[in-house]
């Protein structure tokens, strides 16, 4: 199967108090299209930085990131924004819905940016899938945490992304809500055939993916393939 994400010799160094601080050292891995993977590691291990680089949110200090055969290193910030809009979906730990937009409008934004037609119906359909069609005109502040994350799922899938990045998607939810959101995430993912990359320190969640990349001190310490994941 073709790789959707190719990471080669990836390093990231920040300036901290005038001193260089390397948070990622020579990372190499590839993700096959349509597969699911989890990046796990303790706090401060560099996993969120790695996610930001893979999704084109930041520029690497050295090495390459190739997403859907597009080398992100050579792109300007605006071009990377276009890549994100065309190929990438995001789910964040703190939901990151736009507070001034209704649930429906939040879902519509990625499609509007692409200039697509008939977006309202498609967005409503997605909200229906996540069980929130009746709350489509509510603002994020009027929704519970779980509901906000479900809107966030609908938004992430709205532009039919090739790859979905989820940063601690259940980090801010209780166990019961987490379970529902995870099920929804994997169901939608399967249905859409999207590649899913999860960043988490919740091993139970990580085991639901096909592959676990363990990272510690900015380096990959293990890369396990688990076969077909089991989703309850």
């Amino acid at each position: 199967m073709e790789n959707i994400l190719n990471i080669k010799d990836l390093s990231k160094t920040y300036q901290s108090g005038g001193q260089p601080l390397t948070v990622l050292h020579n990372i190499n891995f590839a993700i096959e299209a349509g597969s699911t993977a989890a990046i796990v590691g303790p706090s401060g291990s560099g996993k969120t930085t790695l996610l930001g680089l893979c999704a084109g949110l930041d520029r690497a200090s050295s090495g390459t990131v190739e997403l859907n055969n597009v080398s992100l290193n050579e792109l300007s910030e605006d071009q990377r924004a276009q890549v994100r809009n065309q190929y990438v979906g995001f789910i964040f730990q703190n939901f990151q819905l736009l507070p001034t937009l209704t649930a429906l409008e939040n879902v519509m934004v990625p499609l509007e940016l692409r200039g697509e037609k008939n977006i309202k119906a498609r967005s409503l359909e997605l909200l229906d899938k996540v069980g929130l069609a009746s709350r489509s005109h509510h603002y994020p502040a009027q929704l519970s945490g779980g509901e906000q994350q479900r809107v966030s799922l609908a938004r992430a899938f709205s532009n039919s992304p090739k790859i979905l990045f989820a940063d601690e998607p259940t980090g801010n939810l209780d166990a019961e809500t987490s379970e529902k959101v995870v099920k929804l995430l994997f169901d939608l993912n399967r249905e859409a055939g999207t590649t899913l990359i999860l960043v988490t320190h919740d091993l139970e969640l990580a085991f639901k993916t096909q592959r676990i990349i363990r990272i510690k001190g900015g380096q990959i310490v293990a890369d396990e393939r688990l076969g077909e994941p089991i989703v309850k």
Binding site: D58, D78, Q82, L98, P99, L101, L113, P140
Partner: protein
């Protein structure tokens, strides 16, 4: 990369997003824009008023001048001019005006007034507005006078009582409410008394040396080409020293002076607008900080940096536009008040109409200025990284790294300079204004930064928690120190400068009357009265401090050149021709007085007739008129030519009541020339002054008296009138400052909610949180007011030293009162606005998505 097609900017979507994004922040956005509403309102009101003035001047110029043509001269007209006068106009009137003492017979009060002796039907346009109305016409045919209403009030005199002018007693026929071209200010400086011209000889006031202005008013029954007419007679008039005015020239002159007035007022309004703009910039800065997360999410979803920037720019333009419309509407309302505020300066009643041009200017200006000032914080939007969705780290892009910010600063500076130039029409003045404004801004901003640095550097750790928290609020993230100190400080500085200048001017006049300084001047004393006036003074127990002879003369040639030759040459290095068209009042003596010092050349106190006479000229007059040592001046002393040479330049201290002269002759040459005298004395109190003045006016009706107490009253009245207008305009700045203050406090409320709630959750009482807030705003208010006052003290000191040539000693009590008032006001506004936070339960706020 060929998989990424170039996507054009979708403006429709940007507008939709701008609208959606503003949805839950509109009240806050309007709060930002409220800062500029008053500034726009002030400018629209002034521009509209200026438009109305132009319109009214065009419509009413004829009533300002009262005739089609006016000829005037400060000496009796020659036969040539008399012949010309006889040939002009279908109707004509003659007037002689001069200053003289009048005596109110009812209560023996005396006052220096402007007497106008009139013959003929003047004014031909408009009228002498009197009570009763018929008196304006009827007084000309009887021994009656019209007396300015302020005089009648002052001396508690009524129509039917009488007034003595010179040797003649006139019945008061009516109250003079308004004469052509007269304003409230001019009537308080020189109140007018009209008498019929036929009694002028009997008054005995037309003596040699008296300063009389001769005016002739003409009316044409059929339209006449005035430009052509005046062109034909111009040379003759100029040669004989006669001025001429027409309705057109009056229109131009009045228009010009009122254009200056409206420009000055517009500049004061502009300061209010600038203050508001700082408010906008600061508010948008906080707004952008609050929007970082939204912008980062949008960037994650694929919005380009320029698109994110445009979304917020559209919001600013929209809100700026609405704010400008609101400002223009308010300005149109305030415009109705301006004729009332300025009534003492206007020679006619203003008909107020809506000026669409002014409203248009206000809206365009409001939008431009809100964009310019919002751009400063808004350019940072381009640099907000999508990474902020994962971890929030908003670092201000440094100026060096973002050239666009420099460009915005340059644009703002260019805009301010350009706008100021449009008001002042003079580059030196524009540069001085913008430089002063920049210095004031820099000092205030510098003070704010210094305060933050000092508090951080020398943090008072030993103080109690409340004080520490209050102090630390001054420099922590989202502090308002800079904006509040600039806006409150600038407003305070403006008001205080006005207050101090008024004080300086009054102090300057009153200083001259302190101690044993002279305070009463008697002038127009004829040669024959010299000794009698002196003995009357001594008999009253008053000192004759000095009695100075004055000889009036004209200057015919400077270095062999006549006025016409100088005018023709128009040489920038030669004296201007008007040096030769004025009358000179000269004295002669053998020594300098104690108010004079020789600054150049050598003082020569004695000379004899027949030789070139060495004279001394006042240095300021010499410099202004490009006269220098060694220049030869040919004076005409009432028909006798006298060739003189400038041998010395004198520095004269004008701060004392003293007869000061531009030109001083040596003793030995003018003793035989026709002359009159000035006597200077000192009266101990107002009662003695009134008593002495009555005796002088009764015995010597032609002698005029200037009482320093009168000057003080006039100056005070004048300054109050000017001060009222300036205070009205400065009020816009002050209220804008308050709005900026309220807006800043309200905006920061959103920042403070979390903190206050956390404090309350941790057990802080309402009282403690109120105390922290009060302390913070007290520091800010007190520091801003103190800095503003320091700026105003420095500016007033500089004005006193370099402009008014006097010392400046500020009054401490008003200064302390201002500081206390502004500090308390700041605390009050701070507390009132923070009240909302305290009234909510911590849980309610913690649950709410702010």
């Amino acid at each position: 990369m060929n998989q990424l097609s170039k996507q054009p900017i979708n403006f429709r979507w940007l507008f939709t997003m701008a609208w959606r994004d503003s949805r839950r922040n509109r009240s806050r956005l309007f709060l930002f824009v409220s800062s500029i509403i008053l500034g726009i309102a002030a400018l629209v009101a002034i521009y509209s008023f200026g438009d109305n003035l132009r319109q009214n001047i065009d419509d009413q110029a004829a009533t300002l001048i009262g005739a089609d043509l006016v000829l005037s001269s400060n000496k009796p007209v020659t036969p040539i001019i008399q012949k010309l006068i006889d040939s002009l106009g279908d109707e004509k009137s003659e007037e002689r005006s001069f200053v003289s003492m009048v005596l109110f017979t009812k209560n023996q009060g005396t006052r220096l007034v402007q007497v106008k002796a009139l013959h003929g039907g003047f004014p031909y346009y408009g009228e002498l507005e009197t009570t009763p109305a018929a008196a304006g016409k009827s007084f000309r045919n009887a021994r009656e006078a019209l007396v300015d209403k302020t005089l009648l009030l002052q001396f508690n005199t009524n129509v039917g009582d009488s007034i003595k002018v010179g040797e003649v007693t006139f019945k008061i026929a009516g109250v003079l409410n308004k004469a052509p071209g007269q304003t409230g200010v001019s009537s308080s400086v020189a109140p007018i008394v009209y008498i019929p011209l036929k009694y002028i000889a009997q008054t005995g006031l037309m003596q040699k040396g008296s300063r009389i202005n001769y005016s002739y008013y003409f009316k044409y029954n059929n339209p006449v080409d005035m430009v052509k007419l005046t062109k034909n007679i111009e040379t003759r008039l100029e040669k004989e020293g006669v001025n001429h005015e027409t309705i057109e020239s009056q229109k131009e002159q009045t228009g010009k002076s009122f254009a200056d007035l409206t420009r000055f007022l517009a500049l004061v309004g502009f300061i209010a607008l600038l203050l508001g703009c700082i408010g906008v910039a600061s508010a948008i800065h906080i707004y952008v900080r609050e929007k970082i997360n939204t912008i980062a999410v949008l960037r994650c979803l694929g919005v380009k940096a320029s698109e994110a920037f445009l979304i917020y720019l559209i919001q600013i333009v929209g809100v700026g536009f609405i704010g400008s419309i609101a400002g223009s509407l308010l300005g149109t309302f305030i415009q109705q008040l301006l004729p009332v505020v300025l009534k003492d300066f206007l020679p006619f009643e203003i008909a107020v109409t809506v000026s669409w041009v002014a409203i248009g200017q206000g809206i365009v200006l409001g939008v431009i200025i809100s964009i310019l000032f919002a751009l400063l914080p808004l350019v940072s939007v381009r640099n907000i990284s999508p990474l902020n969705t994962l971890r929030l780290s908003f670092e201000e892009t440094s100026l060096i790294r973002d050239p666009l910010k420099w460009l915005v600063y340059v644009l703002i500076y260019l805009f301010i300079t350009g706008f100021t130039y449009l008001q002042l029409k003079s580059w030196p003045q524009t540069i001085v204004f913008t430089a002063c404004l920049s210095v004031a801004f820099l000092i205030l901003a510098g003070t704010a930064h210094l305060l933050m640095w000092l508090v951080r550097r020398f943090f008072p750790f030993s103080l109690s928690y409340l004080w520490r928290q209050g102090f630390s609020n001054l420099y922590r993230p989202n502090n308002q120190s800079v904006i509040l100190i600039i806006s409150i400080g600038l407003g305070t500085a403006l008001i205080c400068i006005l207050f101090f200048i008024q004080g300086i001017l009054l102090q300057r006049v009153s200083l001259s009357s302190s101690g044993n300084q002279p305070n009463l001047i008697l002038f127009d004393i004829q040669g024959s009265q010299k000794d009698k006036v002196a003995s009357l003074t001594k008999n009253q127990g008053l000192p004759v401090i000095s009695q100075v002879p004055i000889v009036t003369m004209k200057l015919d040639e400077v270095n062999g050149k006549t006025a016409l030759q100088l005018k023709k040459e128009d040489n920038k290095n030669a004296p201007p021709h008007h040096v030769l068209t004025r009358e000179y009042r000269v004295t002669y003596r053998d020594s300098l007085t104690n108010t004079e010092k020789i600054s150049e050349g050598e003082w020569i106190g004695k000379a004899s007739a027949g030789n070139i006479i060495p004279i001394s000229v006042e240095e300021g007059f010499a410099h202004h008129n490009r006269l220098k040592l060694g220049d030869h001046l040919l004076f005409n002393v009432q028909g006798v030519p006298m060739l003189t040479v400038i041998k010395s330049l004198r520095n004269v201290n004008y701060n004392r009541v003293q007869t000061n002269f531009l030109v001083v002759f040596p003793a030995g040459v003018l003793e035989q020339a026709p002359q009159f005298y000035v006597l200077i004395t000192r009266v101990p109190n107002s009662k003695a002054s009134a008593n002495f003045q009555q005796k002088v006016v009764r015995s010597f009706p032609n002698v005029s008296v200037i009482d320093l107490a009168l000057i003080l009253t006039v100056v005070d009245e004048l300054l109050n009138k000017i001060g009222f207008v300036i205070r009205f305009m400065a009020g816009f700045s002050i209220i804008t400052g308050l709005i900026v203050l309220i807006a800043s406090v309200r905006i920061s409320k959103y920042q403070r909610i979390q903190e206050s709630v956390l404090l309350r959750t941790l057990g802080a009482s309402r009282k403690q949180i109120l105390a922290i807030t009060a302390l913070e705003y007290f520091f800010l208010g007190a520091l801003a007011a103190s800095t503003g006052i320091l700026i105003s003290l420095a500016a007033s000191w500089a004005l006193a030293k370099y402009k008014f040539d006097t010392t400046f000693t500020p009054q401490i009590l008003p200064v302390l009162a201002i500081i206390s008032f502004i500090s308390l006001l700041t605390v009050l506004i701070g507390l009132l606005n923070s009240r909302g936070v305290l009234n909510k339960s911590p849980l309610e706020v913690l649950r709410r998505d702010v």
